[in-house]
Symmetry: C2
Subunit: 377 residues, 2 copies
């Protein structure tokens, strides 16, 4: 089986998520938005698909590594890694992720197996935490500590057993504000009681002193972990912070360098829990290597971000990841409704807070190709 | 697909390899020997096979973890890991390896793919080194430095580009003898010239001082690496040795503890090159995790031992492993001839020293079931 074409289709849909100047999503008026479908096509008619990823880098650079390659070998992924060095910021890990996910989807369809089983399944469901959007100034949205508490209560009623706050961040004029982040965490804990696991993902450029202050307060509130409150390129800052906190520090998340960076953080004791998602590290293939690295050191790995690739990886991991990150959520939006290009959500959650992975082949997505065809540029 | 039976068959063959009191193989008079075939049988008639492994532990302990399990999930392997704790020395990594290899063989047959491709193939051939048996006192065998040199020359003519000596070991009365080991290494280097990669696997209980002496001499002889010359349970001894030698130290090999032990050796800098084989660490599944661990740290992993499981792992590894260990070899024995239970060798080597992995499904073994049936107890 040979790859004969790499097709990227851009199609349109209506979105109610708008981006602020710093790139964070919030609810907003309905607007035109675009989504990408990557299709890796073989001479036997079997295809692998993935939504998302940078079209230009995939077509101009990655394409030439894929055409002609047979099914299943991963040598071309190694080649793409090498190509990244002279194309930093162009051939990103997001481009590699899209290619890797589509190749896994292709393998799963060719072999009639879901990806988490091809990888050696350890489970078929994972607990989710409700992961909020960043704080905002929308009345009744996520505008006050009380609003976070209201929303946490709603999420608990929906079935979530864990809840993660994203704090307030620029471009909000008065953000960041470490005391207000803590106030929101305190309001949530007081509202939901002791039984719900809570986490915080705050502004990512706090000072060391602000990060330590937040961490000490979260210890009092019995939080499960705190994510990167400082620039992740300063590993020394994380060594400093982790040493002082009993609260588990979870990272790195977006730091470049895939498994090598996670290895450095482990040996330098820069965090307690390792972190990464398929879109951060270049796909399922490197994310599974990170899971194996973490297993060798007895370190947990909490997966960053939602999406079907992360869910398959979680179900194939022999160590925690305790949680799937479901979201980003907001009181004004209905996350359970699938996007128009899918007949059903990739991460359905039951009333006890378990997200179930699809037993269908490949990524297991139930794609609405009619919608895509009628909305393509 | 469900596992409905776990069958272990013991059958007889004639062997010309005899074991000395310490367990090392040497050429000897033809004798009756026994081999084991493990078969994991499913309700759909597809089977996974593996030769070798302890029958008793597989049937008394591992069996109950396998019956009823569906294809591909690896949760039962995790359970077997847990069971090892209270059954140290009974449920060994060799038992786990046999089960793991048979499960991979089963998956490969069910999906019609060779295992190295299921794991993400990076290559389909690997250079071999000729790996000698331990030294002996057989005239014209491996009884003198000169005899090793003669044999290295023969191996070079056969196509090998690399040659590894196993030194003289007890129960030979005068062994070990560090100076004689070095003399053999020197004789081989002088005979084969500069172009052939050379390695030494000496007696495994030398003192620190003897190990350092051997290492310093091998540096002068431009050896590629030295394997474990001291008790591997003394990690401190290996940190001490590796720090002083420019010669790459390769290990650990038989130390218990799978990927966790390899992680410790890496962070403690106890060796330059990591090591392990499927029979040391419990199968292909944990060996691939070790390959990913090593990749995260930029450390090479040289695979211990021959056999089809190790060959598939090597072909799925994105980092060196530069070599497949072909042997053990001896001037009196014809390694290229397959054992009677196989129609062809699992590790055929061409005239340029490349060993080719089978493209057939699963482990790719071409088994002579007629022979096995007519020689079963």
């Amino acid at each position: 089986m040979k790859v004969v074409d790499v097709i990227t289709e851009v199609f349109h849909y209506k979105s109610r998520v708008v981006r602020d100047a710093d790139g964070h999503g919030h609810p907003g008026p309905e607007r035109d938005a675009a989504q990408t479908l990557l299709r890796i096509v073989t001479d036997e008619g079997i295809e692998g698909c993935c939504f998302g990823g940078p079209v230009d880098a995939i077509q101009r650079i990655a394409r030439s590594a894929l055409i002609g390659e047979a099914l299943l070998p991963r040598a071309h992924l190694k080649r793409l890694n090498v190509w990244q060095r002279l194309r930093i910021g162009v051939l990103s890990d997001k481009a590699l992720c899209a290619v890797d996910l589509a190749l896994w989807d292709l393998a799963g369809h060719a072999l009639n197996q879901p990806i988490h089983r091809l990888l050696g399944a350890y489970r078929d469901k994972v607990r989710a935490y409700a992961s909020t959007m960043c704080g905002d100034e929308l009345p009744g949205g996520l505008d006050t500590p009380e609003a976070y508490a209201d929303f946490a209560e709603q999420c608990k009623e929906r079935g979530y057993t864990a809840f993660k706050l994203h704090g307030w961040m620029p471009p909000i004029a008065w953000a960041p504000d470490a005391r207000r982040d803590v106030a929101a965490c305190r309001a949530v804990r007081q509202r939901v009681g002791d039984g719900m696991a809570l986490m915080l993902d705050p502004f990512h450029y706090y000072s060391r002193e602000e990060a330590l202050y937040i961490g000490r307060e979260l210890e009092k509130l019995d939080f499960a972990w705190m994510e990167e409150p400082m620039d992740e390129h300063s590993t020394a800052s994380y060594v400093w912070l982790t040493e002082q906190l009993a609260l588990p520090v979870c990272g790195p998340e977006t730091a470049e360098g895939k498994l090598q960076t996670r290895a450095e953080w482990i040996v330098q004791k820069a965090s307690d829990i390792s972190r990464g998602g398929v879109w951060d590290v270049g796909g399922i293939t490197p994310l599974m290597k990170i899971a194996h690295l973490c297993e060798a050191f007895g370190v947990s790995l909490e997966i960053h971000g939602n999406g079907v690739g992360n869910l398959h990886a979680l179900c194939a991991m022999p160590i925690p990841g305790a949680y799937y990150e479901r979201g980003l959520l907001h009181p004004f939006l209905d996350y359970d409704q699938p996007p128009p290009w899918l007949h059903e959500a990739v991460d359905p959650m039951d009333s006890e807070g378990w997200v179930h992975v699809s037993p269908r082949p490949g990524l297991g997505m139930n794609i609405n190709f009619d919608y895509i065809r009628s909305h393509t540029q």
